[in-house]
Structures are given as C-alpha cells and as structure tokens.
C-alpha cells in the first residue's frame, strides 16, 4: 500500500490528542502560513497544488477561496462535517482520530481568506466526533493556536462546533447554512453563491473535512509534493470508503486514479463469499451505478469516473455482488431520498414520493407495464428543476439502474419476482 498521509496516524493510540499531534510537526504548517505567507500567496500555493474539494463536487479549493470578496467583513468559514452521503464515512475517522489536522486546516484556510470565525457543522449522530472535536478545539485555545492573537500574531480566530440533527439535506451547502442560522434545513437558490452571500448573509467559504485536512500537508511538503500523487487534473491522496460486498470494507487512502478493481481486490480483499461482482456505485449513493464490466476498466479519479458516466463524488465505493436484486437496491436508495427530501420544491417532494411508490409496488410484485417509462419520465421532470441537487441525486440512480439493469426491472414487472434466486 502506498504511504499514507491523511490516515497515517488514525489507528495510533491517542492520535486525537494535542501532544501526539505536536509530535508529528503539528501546527507547524499553520504557524508557517501566518508568519511567512501573505494571504494572496497562500491562495496561490493551494491553487497551484491542484487540491480539489473532497466533499463531492471536486471544485478547485484555491479557486473557491479567491471568489470571496476581500473588503466585506465579517466573513465566515464553515467546515462541512455533515457526512451524510450513504457510502461515505471518511470524515468521521479524521474527526474522531485526528481532529487537530482538521483544525489546523481551518486555521490555514481562515488565514488565506482572512476569516475570524469558523463553524464546524457536524452531523447530529456523530456525538463522539463532536466531543473529540470540542476537546481538540479547547486544547488549541489553551495553546494559543485559536482565540486572540494566534501564534502571537494580530490574527484572531474562533471555531464553534455546531451539531446537526439528522437531516441529509444539511450536507448540501446552502441547506447547511440555513440550518446553522436556526431554520429548517432548506437550501437556497444560487446565485448569490455562499462565497458572496453565505452564512448570516456574509461571504462564506464552505470546505469539506478531508479538503481542510489536506492543507497542513500541502504547506509542510509543498504543492509539488502534492502534485506528485494522483493524476494531472486530480492530484493528491484521496480517502476511498469501501462498503458493501467486499471481504474488508473500510477506508483506504490511495492516490486519485487508482483502478477501481485494485481497490476492490487488493485493498478491499475482493468480493466476499467468492461471489462475482455485479455492480459498483463509485462516489456515494447519488452517483450513477456502473456494471462490473465498466468497473473493470475504471480508474478512480474525477475525470475518469465522469467519462464512464458516473461521479467520483465523495469517494464512497459501494460494491454489490451477483446476489443483489437491482430493483430492491434501487428501492432502498429511493426510500432514502424520499425520506430526506426537504419538501421545498414540488418536483423533488412529489418526484421522490412517486418513485418510492412505484418501486415499492415493483419490489412487492405489483409492478405495472409502463412503470419503467413512468419512472424515467418523473426523473426528467426532476432533474435541473429544483433549488438544490437532491432531486438530481435521486434521479441519477434511477436512470442509471434502469439503463444498466433494465432487464431486471422488466422481469420484476412481467414475472412479479426477482431474477436473482440465490
């Protein structure tokens, strides 16, 4: 296995403590940023590294920072630790096992964009993570790495841990902001983009946990080091979350561009129970499903996965073996999206409900002729027609499951049962 960076210490005892982090050059990068980098130079450095957001969209982090107006105060940074995309569980490991790397990343980002107040929005279920983060933040205040005049400079920075409460939609950045502001987590129309008018209507940077955790290493080792890993357009290490039907599910930190089958076979221990691979969802549950044949040729970087018709997303690789009924799997996912639709936009509120209803009847042997076309029609009426992309996130699995496994849906309708008999 290639040498790990982000997850190097997450299995080490006491890795979440300040003492341990300091023993690993902890807070040297943020000190260096504050003392020897002008903010503009720091943004250039991160742009130059090619770091792309690890939350799902894969947008250039440095570019995102440069959109923030310089003359409006206060500005905010929000660390998105909502980690709610099914199949994704990497941020939890960083938060629980190496929280200081995330805090240091926040300090670096805040210095680059000149922000004095940051919030970490952590999903409500992660009680342990919230406690560990708070403890790490308290330690950082005590050391003078947070609060007033950090590292003896004139720069002030406060970090507040804000707990969510079980709503997938709050992982969507504008829904997240609305949630911090004290409302139902309803997404907002963009523009204005958060960089211009975000939290409390002020310019706001929103970065994923893993994105921020990369920053100390980029500062310590340089942009060239970062670019030496991965592909030209997708550089750096990436945490892949492998779940489902493999022998060794878990987190694997590998360069972007690692072949999908290498992740499944060499790291994930292969498909379990000596079964054959049937399908993979490469980037969390919203990403279009791919067949085993497509997975054979797939490299796991943003461009290659997009070229194959899916998305690298958050790096959540869900593996399905030959015993999976694709109607049943899709029904499970759509039930999730129906439950999590915030209900603001009609196409999503009704669309996810109808898809759920149709798949429910199909799964229970009551599918009707025309149901496949009806589902595709509903998807057409959802995609691109809502405030946020939850509708698209629900429609993409439906469209791709039908495209790649249409015969199973037809069989369900005709024979009122599964093709899968194991």
């Amino acid at each position: 296995m290639p040498e790990k960076t982000l997850l190097k210490h997450t299995d080490t005892p006491n890795s979440e403590t300040m003492d341990f982090y300091l023993s690993q050059k902890g807070y040297e990068a943020s000190r260096k940023a504050l003392t020897s980098y002008e903010p503009a130079k720091l943004i250039d450095e991160v742009k130059g590294s090619g770091l792309r957001g690890r939350g799902g969209a894969g947008f250039s982090t440095g570019m995102k920072w440069s959109f923030v107006p310089k003359d409006i105060f206060p500005k905010y940074l929000v660390c998105n630790a909502d980690e709610s995309e099914p199949g994704t569980f990497k941020d939890r490991a960083l938060i629980e096992r190496y929280p200081h790397s995330v805090i240091e990343g926040i300090i670096i980002a805040c210095w680059a964009v000149q922000i004095n107040s940051a919030f970490i929005y952590i999903r409500g279920e992660f009680t342990l993570g919230a406690k560990k983060l708070q403890k790490a933040i308290d330690e950082a205040y005590q050391k003078g790495f947070l609060g007033k005049n950090i590292f003896g400079s004139k720069f002030n920075l406060d970090i507040t841990v804000h707990r969510g409460a079980g709503a997938y939609i709050c992982g969507e950045e504008t829904g997240l902001l609305t949630s911090i502001e004290g409302y139902r987590g309803y997404p907002k129309i963009k523009p204005p983009f958060p960089a211009i008018q975000g939290l409390f209507a002020k310019p706001t940077v929103i970065n994923n946990v893993e994105t921020l955790a990369n920053l100390p290493y980029i500062l310590n080792n340089g942009a060239q080091w970062f670019k030496s890993m991965g592909t030209e357009k997708s550089p750096g290490p990436k945490i892949f979350c492998v779940s489902g039907h493999v022998n060794k599910p878990g987190l694997y930190e590998l360069p972007l561009g690692t072949p999908c089958m290498e992740i499944i076979n060499n790291y994930g221990g292969g498909v379990w129970k000596n079964r054959k691979l049937k399908a993979v969802i490469p980037g969390g549950s919203s990403a279009p499903v791919l067949t085993a044949a497509q997975a054979e040729k797939l490299n796991m970087d943003y461009e290659a996965v997009a070229a194959a018709g899916s998305m690298l997303g958050s790096g959540g690789l869900i593996v399905m073996d030959e015993t999976v009924c694709m109607v049943n799997a899709l029904y499970n996912l759509i039930r999730f999206y129906h439950h999590e639709s915030c209900g603001q936009c009609t196409p999503c509120r009704y669309g996810t409900g109808w898809l759920d209803k149709i798949l429910h009847r199909m799964e229970h042997g009551n599918g009707k002729q025309g149901d496949i076309e009806l589902m595709l029609n509903i998807c057409d009426n959802m995609r691109g027609k809502t405030i946020c992309v939850l509708a698209d996130a629900a429609a993409m699995p439906v469209q791709s499951f039908i495209k790649n496994f249409r015969d199973e849906f037809e069989y369900h309708i005709k024979e009122h049962k599964c093709t899968v008999t194991i």
């Binding site: 279920e125 342990l128 707990r163 079980g166 709503a167 502001e181 599910p249 549950s285 999730f336």
Partner: protein, 157 residues
C-alpha cells in the same frame, strides 16, 4: 408544566449566546441543551427554548419537527436506531432490525411497555464500512450480528 433549565444548563446557554451573531442561530444548539437536560423534548421544552431564544413556539416546533435526530419525549431509556440504508442493507441490517422487532415485541417508532427500549429504523448513520450498525443512545455499535446484539442488549440495564 412549564419547564426551566438548571443553573448548569443556563451557564451553557450563556456561553452559546456568545458564539452566534443572531438569536435564531441558537435554536438548534439550545434544543440540544433541552434534549440533554430533560432526556427528550416535549411541548413544554419547546416553549422554554422559544422563550430563551426569543422566537415564537411555533417556529421552534417547525424546526424541531424537521430534524429527526432530536430525542422525542417519551422515548425509552435506550433508543435503538437501526441504520437501514443500502450499504448497511447489503450486509444484513434488515435481519438485525427483524431480530430486534421480534425480541422486543415492538415495531419501528415504538417503545417497550417497561419504557426501556425504543426502536427506530433510520437512514444512513455514516458508518458504512462497519455495517450493520445500530446507534444506542449516543454510542455506535458496529459490525453487528444478531448474537453480538443480544450480548449488548443483555448488558443494558
């Protein structure tokens, strides 16, 4: 009966007030304080939160009902949240849920007569690499089998 926070919770409330630029933003964190002190949120708790934050009780209820993870008043001593989304389902979460249903004699969103357990089928808990997973109150129990789960339940008093 109108509720009040104890002195320790009030201290936490005061500290929170310093962290946010608007009063509305206090709503989610203060609901957590109420959940913690009263072990679940009911109408009286919502009214208390409304008074402290300075928003109408109807707004508190609107927000509270949007979020599924706050503990509802009347929940059992142990709240068992069984993840049921695809990555867990692929590794046997349905079996875990059925086992609990049978063992406790209750369905999702129900509480045992002795008030000890509340069962809840929930969506993704973000622990897909160690599925199936059940959250019992604050703690995650991972890589579960029905045998392991029985052992865990036996230890809960």
């Amino acid at each position: 009966m109108p509720k009040t926070f104890n002195a320790k919770t009030m201290e936490k409330f005061q500290a929170l007030s310093q962290r946010y630029p608007t009063k509305d933003a206090l709503l989610l964190p203060v609901l957590r304080l109420a959940e913690e002190e009263f072990n679940g949120i009911d109408d009286d708790a919502m009214e208390l939160v409304a008074g402290l934050v300075g928003v109408p009780p109807a707004k508190v209820m609107s927000v509270f009902t949007f979020y599924t993870h706050y503990r509802r008043a009347g929940s059992g001593k142990y709240l068992l949240q069984v993840c049921s989304t695809l990555p867990c389902a692929l590794r046997g979460s349905q079996e875990i849920f059925e086992h609990l249903k049978k063992k406790l004699g209750i369905d999702s969103e129900e509480t045992t007569k002795d008030g000890k357990f509340t069962l809840k089928k929930v969506e993704c808990l973000g622990s897909c690499g160690t599925s199936p997973v059940v959250q019992i109150n604050e703690d995650y129990y991972e890589n579960l089998t029905t045998e392991k789960l029985d052992e865990i339940l036996n230890k809960l008093q």
